[in-house]
């Protein structure tokens, strides 16, 4: 089978791991050592302080993603791994975007866009708006495209967080 035949898909992978020094670098190191790509990666402790929860977004064929899941499971600090993509997960990402308006008309336009996207202005100073937007990555991309006519000073994105729907939960 030629390379062009292999279908690459985006996968959102949830990882529960021991909240130990170096655990994050074991995951990051695994991806670089084995040549897997990371689209985004977020990590923070959970309500159980001994555990961290990571959401990792990667792209690959089914075979590669299966290897990624196995290799993640093999890491001693990793407690559980789950490929959320199998059941239409909820995905959210947060973005801070700083936009400056050239004139008062542009200020109004930016505020309208903020309303349309259900974003929030969290700081204003001399026609510079700092805006918080939450949503899936398509929404954030769309917002960036929408304000592109104005002057984008800075973009900070959190990377994707994912959780499954319904009563299933990634717990130990």
């Amino acid at each position: 089978m030629g390379m062009s035949m292999i279908k690459e898909e985006r996968h959102v992978i949830s990882i529960l791991m021991e909240n130990e020094a170096g655990a994050l670098s074991r995951v990051a190191g695994l991806f670089s050592a084995r040549g897997y790509n990371i689209e985004s990666l977020t990590v923070a402790p959970t309500e159980d302080k001994s555990l961290s929860r990571m959401t990792l977004v990667t792209c690959g064929s089914n075979d590669i993603v299966e290897q990624i899941l196995k290799q993640l499971n093999k890491l001693i600090d990793v407690v559980k791994v789950y490929d959320l993509s199998e059941d239409n997960p909820i995905e959210r990402e947060m973005m801070f975007i700083k936009v400056s308006a050239n004139n008062m008309a542009a200020c109004g336009a930016i505020k309208r866009l903020v309303d349309i996207f259900r974003a929030r202005i969290i700081d204003v100073k001399s026609r510079t708006f700092t805006i918080e937007v939450t949503g899936d990555r398509n929404k954030l991309n769309a917002f960036i495209a929408a304000v592109e006519d104005h002057n984008i000073l800075e973009v900070v994105r959190s990377g994707c967080m994912g959780i499954s729907r319904g009563n299933s939960a990634l717990k130990i």
């Binding site: 170096g22 074991r26 196995k70 990793v78």
Partner: protein
């Protein structure tokens, strides 16, 4: 009672029944060495002083590979730790259970670029099964316990424990506890094969017309040689072993078709290529085994038994995956076969064996013995005969390694000790030290070459100190032979930097260390020299066999070719 960190370290080793530890002292491990010395005087443990940390690590590997115990090593911080990295990476690639202790600078100096400081936990992260930095004396015993547990269970591997010097000093003390095996919610290897997959495997086995059993180092790790023999003989299937798996099945048995892969036998590779069913057991479809994966065994269904789920369907997709300990899975398969009471179709198998015997008739390992200069293959074959196939054979890396694998017929597991995955030149001699220390009365050889032996030659000193009567069989062709062979085949005979200029007089070198040295230049003198060396039971004998210069390892699968595209002599 409260103990110091260094005392806790010793008590942990005793609790783990460690008899021998390999190492090299230095500033950051002085408290540990102080305690080690006392423990050695009390007869609790034996420390073997290598001449280089790489030597200590390979010795620990040799010890582990020839026994069912983990190898244990201790080195200091900084350069001591970085010198150990090659041995750690080697153990990782070949799944050798090792516990490696490294000294670290005082905790308050970590991150300060202190003298002999290096982030060894960071450096070794990609080549250990796991590693730890101990940051509190209260965690020391528990960490060491976890290290032994992780190194020796599941798919074995090296585990490193980095211990800052101030944790081992005489100021801090802690209560010592060392109870039940550690509970780890994140680590729980699967040992028992899935019943449904085992039943599916039986269906495949019974339907096969042209089957082959392909086994690797996992069978040896699992201690499953006798189960493998039962299983193979029940089915009357041909069996091939990987380089790491030699000895798991008796090489002199009629069902054994030799090693497979790049320098495997013609019959093993042809049988693999034409098979309709491969039963892969504790093997990992390494690129030296598969050749070009696009051309790999086009008609074969594959059953794969391995303790590491990540090894399954990594390089080659399989039909029946069975995750579990090889011994347990083989026992389950044997039991299920007996319950079914069926046999594979004997007529089909008869045709298959007839085909295999035609491939065997090519006699792919034949070589010309009618030569003046020493023939490397003949040396190994003679050594096999004279040692009655009962030696522990360690090897370095290169042509001599392949000849050792091809011409020494291993009938028992744990007898063939080599660096397969990483391919580490310099492995052989220190590994042989570890083997000889684990088996003081056994016949131990190091088959090496003029290139490899010089990479850890300093260990001749260790052999003197501990009176290790290793037989060094150096196949000296004056070249880095495998490099030269590739240059001959694939680089228009441009022998770039592969000629070993300025070789030392190995006889004098051996004698300088207090050993016996022999130089053998004629093929007719090979047998006499080997007999002489074997008779010197309590001496290390360095046999410098001056072989033909441009001998090649045959047969060979060139890179990019399929298993059916071998170059014969």
């Amino acid at each position: 009672m409260e103990l110091t960190g260094a005392e806790i370290f010793i008590e942990c080793l005793r609790a783990e029944r460690v008899e021998t530890i390999f190492g090299y002292p230095g500033g950051a491990v002085l408290f540990l060495y102080d305690a080690l010395e006392k423990a050695e005087k009390e007869g609790k443990i034996k420390h073997i002083l290598a001449r280089h940390e790489q030597g200590a690590l390979h010795a620990a590997e040799g010890y582990a590979k020839s026994t069912d115990k983990p190898g244990v090593a201790i080195v200091t911080s900084g350069p001591g730790a970085t010198n150990a990295v090659t041995g750690i990476a080697d153990a990782y690639m070949d799944s050798v259970p090792l516990v490696v202790f490294t000294g670290q600078v005082h905790r308050h100096l970590i991150g300060n670029d202190a003298f002999q400081e290096v982030d060894i936990v960071g450096i070794t992260r990609p080549c250990v099964k796991h590693n730890f930095l101990v940051t509190d004396i209260k965690d020391l015993a528990d960490t060491i316990k976890k290290a032994f547990y992780i190194a020796t269970t599941g798919r074995p591997g090296p585990v490193l424990v980095d211990i800052p010097k101030d944790i081992t000093d005489n100021e801090s003390r802690c209560e010592f506890n060392y109870d039940a095996p550690p509970k780890m919610r994140s680590y729980n290897p699967t040992l028992k094969g899935n019943t449904r997959q085992i039943r599916r495997a039986i269906d495949f086995l019974l339907e096969a017309k042209q089957p082959i059993i392909y086994t690797g180092g996992g069978v040896i790790m699992s201690g499953a040689s006798s189960q493998l023999k039962d299983f193979t003989q029940m089915l009357n299937f041909p069996i091939t072993n990987t380089l790491m798996g030699l000895g798991a099945y008796p090489a002199t048995d009629k069902q054994f078709v030799g090693m497979l892969g790049m320098h495997g036998t013609y019959e093993a590779n042809m049988a693999m290529h034409h098979s309709d069913l491969i039963i892969a057991i504790g093997a990992r479809f390494d690129d030296r085994v598969t050749g070009n994966i696009e051309k790999f065994c086009p008609d074969a269904k594959i059953i794969h038994i391995d303790i590491d789920p990540a090894s399954i369907s990594k390089n080659i997709m399989v039909n029946v995956p069975i995750v579990g300990d090889v011994k347990q899975v083989l026992l389950a398969l044997i039991k299920e076969l007996k319950i079914r009471g069926d046999q594979p179709d004997q007529e089909n198998l008869g045709h298959w064996w007839k085909q295999i015997s035609e491939w065997q008739a090519k006699d792919c390992l034949k070589f010309d013995t009618n030569t003046q200069r020493v023939k490397a293959q003949y040396v190994v074959q003679k050594y096999w005969e004279l040692s009655e196939g009962d030696a522990y054979v360690c090897s370095d890396v290169g042509q001599h390694q392949m000849w050792a694998a091809q011409y020494y017929k291993f009938d028992q597991p744990n007898r063939w000790i080599n660096s397969g995955g990483l391919g580490t030149m310099g492995f052989g001699l220190p590994a042989a030290m570890g083997v000889q220390l684990a088996h003081p009365d056994a016949e131990v050889a190091c088959i090496t070459g003029d290139g490899s032996i010089q990479m850890c030659i300093q260990e001749l000193g260790t052999c003197s100190q501990y009176k290790l009567p290793i037989k060094i069989i150096s196949l000296n062709n004056g070249y880095l032979g495998m490099v030269r062979q590739w240059q001959e085949f694939f680089y228009q005979k441009n022998y770039a930097m592969s000629y070993n200029e300025a070789l030392p007089d190995f006889v004098k070198l051996a004698e300088a260390y207090g050993h016996v040295g022999l130089r053998i230049e004629k093929n007719e003198d090979v047998e006499g020299a080997l007999k002489e060396a074997l008779a010197l039971k309590d001496r290390l004998v360095f046999m410098d066999f001056v072989t033909e210069q441009e001998g090649n390892v045959y047969p060979m699968i060139p890179a990019g070719a399929g298993l059916n595209e071998m170059i014969l002599v």
